[in-house]
């Protein structure tokens, strides 16, 4: 396994569509729930321990080779908002395109055939990590980090925040990222024996509710 592959996969410039998504930050900014750096930190922390943990566990389980179709169904059940399910599938499809060009693998081709309109992004991410020779920890790290880097980058654009402040928010979350990854991978390892119910199902009501409102806006900067 090449650890450098993790840098390629986790790079914010990896061309997999993430730049057009705010991870709920655009809706939270409009609602006045994010007005500055402190709110951003709180938002990211909440997202990390809910959607981020679930994504990390799904990615870890996919990287371990668990059935991606079952994992995709588990992701559906953990994503009540249809707007977020659609966003996750769009991102999954975009990541699939980038992954197949970067780390060609029969498993990726098979998943692309199974889900022509895209599987949930964390599932594709886990299989991509696998194709890149990475393990469940690396896959979970990517998913957990994306769950906070997306909103941080988006908020820099939305509120003209100082980019150093936004990056410092991410740096200060690092110990919690470690914890989330540990919890996610432990759950992912239990899937083989216990099935997908072993995966965490942590939810953030406002992320789900606001995603529906956001999807109905006629004019917006971000896709989600």
């Amino acid at each position: 396994m090449s650890r450098a592959a993790l840098l390629v996969l986790a790079d914010g410039r990896f061309p997999a569509g993430g730049h057009a998504h705010s991870g709920g930050a655009e809706a939270a900014v409009r609602a006045g729930r994010i007005t500055g750096v402190a709110d951003l930190a709180d938002f990211c922390r909440g997202r990390l321990h809910t959607a981020g943990l679930v994504a990390a566990a799904l990615a870890g389980a996919a990287a371990l080779g668990r059935d991606p179709v079952e994992l995709d169904a588990a992701a559906d059940a953990r994503t009540p908002s249809p707007a977020l399910r659609l966003a996750a599938r769009k991102l999954g499809r975009q990541l699939m395109r980038a992954a197949r060009a970067t780390w060609p693998a029969p498993e990726l081709d098979a998943l692309a055939r199974e889900f022509p309109k895209g599987a949930h992004q964390p599932v594709v991410l886990g299989l991509t990590a696998r194709a890149a020779g990475l393990g469940p920890e690396e896959a979970a790290y990517c998913a957990a980090y994306e769950s906070v880097s997306g909103p941080a980058t988006a908020t820099v654009r939305l509120l003209s925040l100082d980019p150093f402040d936004a990056t410092a928010v991410l740096a200060r979350l690092a110990p919690e990222l470690d914890q989330v990854v540990e919890r996610a991978v432990a759950a992912a390892r239990r899937v083989a024996a216990e099935g997908v119910d072993a995966l965490p199902a942590c939810s953030a009501p406002l992320l789900e509710i606001a995603a529906e409102a956001h999807a109905a806006w006629p004019v917006r900067l971000f896709a989600s």
């Binding site: 938002f43 997908v196 529906e212």
Partner: protein, 312 residues
């Protein structure tokens, strides 16, 4: 330790419950006031198997189509703080109220409600008052598990009053509904963080709904002191103190799913990935939450193509 309640003797009209007609805040206060007394002097017909590990109690309800267009309750059994009572039903539907003896869950308690609706039967379960999670003598979290099973052609309405997380409490509550492909469900859950102007305890609540063996909803919410960070922040609750879920399962949603819709500032109606719909809501307090969910249910009732009748 099981007390099978005879429907006649145990009939309790909802209005006779001391707290049923009070607004949630008042109900919580009343519950808090009666809690100690109830625990100190358990009802004679409901011996509490108290151990050093807290109370373990199970309530069992089985609803069966009686062959004459009605629903019978061949099993209606409570234990300790869980006392199910049959109340006057309506048409084909049997009604059960979880009443009075509920004082917990306290720390270390382990309570289970197991309700089964057999093929073609119709059951509605409510509770006479809000359930309050309180700190107990025994250290460690309390657990409250609700298992709901509905067979083909059966219908269950699970509409308990709020679950209130009192300061210092620690509760893990799980609700799992297992439905056959043509079963129907109306499920409402509401969590309230703290009694009036009180800091909440720790509350983790997981809700899973399975239809024909396929999980269509699996959501856990963790909040209060000790919960993972950010739970009260802008992504999760943002200071809201009441949150609720309303799940509707109807076979006809497979053909005609509900359209996703925002219901005001803190609520949305969404189609799930299966023949089910969810209203997810957050509100500043229990009253406003209930109003939101009631309105959503009324609207769904009107919009749904299902048979006429009050969904509640």
């Amino acid at each position: 330790m099981t007390t099978a309640a005879s429907p006649q003797a145990a009939a309790v009209a909802p209005a006779t419950s001391p707290t049923a007609t009070l607004p949630p805040e008042a109900a919580s206060a009343a519950r808090a006031a009666t809690t100690t007394a109830v625990r100190a002097a358990p009802a004679a017909d409901a011996p509490q198997p108290t151990t050093s590990a807290g109370v373990r109690a199970t309530a069992r309800i089985v609803a069966r189509h009686d062959g004459r267009g009605g629903t019978a309750l061949p099993v209606l059994a409570g234990e300790g703080p869980l006392a199910p009572r049959r109340t006057r039903g309506s048409g084909a539907e049997a009604r059960v109220l979880l009443v009075g003896a509920m004082s917990g869950p306290l720390g270390g308690d382990r309570l289970t409600v197991d309700a089964r609706v057999e093929a073609g039967a119709r059951l509605r379960i409510g509770s006479a008052a809000a359930t309050i999670a309180l700190p107990g003598q025994v250290p460690g979290p309390a657990r409250y598990d609700v298992r709901l099973t509905v067979a083909d052609g059966g219908e269950l309405h699970w509409l308990p009053e709020q679950l209130i997380s009192a300061h210092g409490s620690d509760l893990y509550v799980t609700t799992r509904a297992d439905l056959a492909p043509t079963a129907r469900l109306v499920l409402r859950e509401e969590q309230v963080l703290g009694r009036a102007a009180e800091q909440p305890g720790r509350l983790t609540s997981r809700l899973a709904v399975r239809i024909g063996g396929r999980t269509v909803l699996d959501q856990e919410l963790a909040c209060g002191p000790g919960a993972p960070g950010g739970w009260d922040g802008p992504a999760v609750l943002a200071g809201h103190r009441a949150m609720g879920q309303l799940v509707l399962v109807r076979p006809e949603f497979a053909r005609a799913p509900v359209a996703a819709r925002v219901l005001g500032e803190g609520a949305a109606l969404v189609p799930l990935a299966g023949p089910a719909a969810l209203v997810s809501a957050v509100a500043p307090d229990a009253l406003r939450l209930r109003r939101l969910l009631d309105e959503a249910l009324t609207e769904l009732d009107r919009a749904c193509a299902g048979p006429p009748g009050d969904l509640r």
